[in-house]
Symmetry: C2
Subunit: 227 residues, 2 copies
Amino acid sequence: MTKPCIICVAITGSLPKKENNPAVPITVSEQVESTQEAFEAGATICHAHVRNDDETPSSDPEKFARLKEGLEKHCPGMIVQFSTGGRSGAGQARGGMLPLAPDMASLSVGSNNFPTRVYENPPDLVDWLASEMLTHGVKPEIEAFDLSHIFQAAKMAEAGKLAGTPYVQFVMGVKNAMPADREVFEFYIHTVKRLFGDDAPWCAAGIGANQYLINQWSVELGGHART
Amino acid sequence: MTKPCIICVAITGSLPKKENNPAVPITVSEQVESTQEAFEAGATICHAHVRNDDETPSSDPEKFARLKEGLEKHCPGMIVQFSTGGRSGAGQARGGMLPLAPDMASLSVGSNNFPTRVYENPPDLVDWLASEMLTHGVKPEIEAFDLSHIFQAAKMAEAGKLAGTPYVQFVMGVKNAMPADREVFEFYIHTVKRLFGDDAPWCAAGIGANQYLINQWSVELGGHART
Ligand SMILES: [Zn+2]
Ligand SMILES: [Zn+2]
Ligand SMILES: [Zn+2]
Ligand SMILES: [Zn+2]
């Protein structure tokens, strides 16, 4: 491999519960412990959600603050990425932790369907989240659930709503959104290079059963992998 | 050209008003008159919305019934396609005219952003609209505002939720959705042929300033054009 491989560890996501998998870290200290293991095994970025005590997704800035503190202490130098995804809250509550100035935060720039509902990212909320990231020096990871989301990132960058070269993550395998498809995957990469230059970084995440497959494609084609 | 060119005329859309363009046909009789002109000029399909008296979009089945009657009388043999788009109503009201059994109806199978809001097509509503079309023998025109919508049509066809080969329309140039992009346009065509066979029909619509450009691409690459 010609580039160093960035491994991004998503320690929890917002959905799996202990009843599904007793190893899922739920509390902040469980999350820090589990990230430390991944960090010591070579992971570079920690993509983080937080949970309420009843295991439901949360966007409580106080919980994010404690997680960030724990990660800085136990995983020094690791890139901390907070989720602003719609499963953890609604409206501007999704970005309430951005003043904590994590290194990165996820940013969805379009809307699409999820298994049972619409994943709603209305244009004014997208713009507000992006402006909060600009204000607090947070690098967005653009979550591309569909092809137009890459073009939307380009348009936002041109308009000065994103700083620097957009960093795009392709998300595949969510039911009712984009399936894991090799030709689309390659067209995504081609589009990123066309819009952002040949050296533009990208990463990819496969949901559920597609996780391993998408990681293989990413490593093979020069992207960063998320576990 | 090797195939006959199907010209699909969208007589009104749901947004332009008489104050924007005094020639916009609003009442059912204005719509029939305007469609008849296009029919006599060679248009094959009429894509129709209806309006309330104050020019706002409507999904009133009674208005659609009068429109269908007028079109059958004045444009005999023309294919009538009703819009079930989200600008004209909410939830199942969007499909309240399907029991009138028009030849075709538009069907959005995913969600995406529009200029100022989310265009919401939740999975259960999509499935209900598709089942109403099956029940009443209405051929859907799949509105692909993004790439994943073509894959979603394939999945629905496999699951028996759509009859026959899906007929896809690429929609480009809506702000915050897919822009008019030639490489994407060609990848859309490639994807339709890969998923539905080399002979699968497709058409394309460019919104606003992109209308003429998209028509040119369609005619050049073997699709049906919408005006
Ligand atoms: Zn990543
Ligand atoms: Zn996440
Ligand atoms: Zn058409
Ligand atoms: Zn329409």
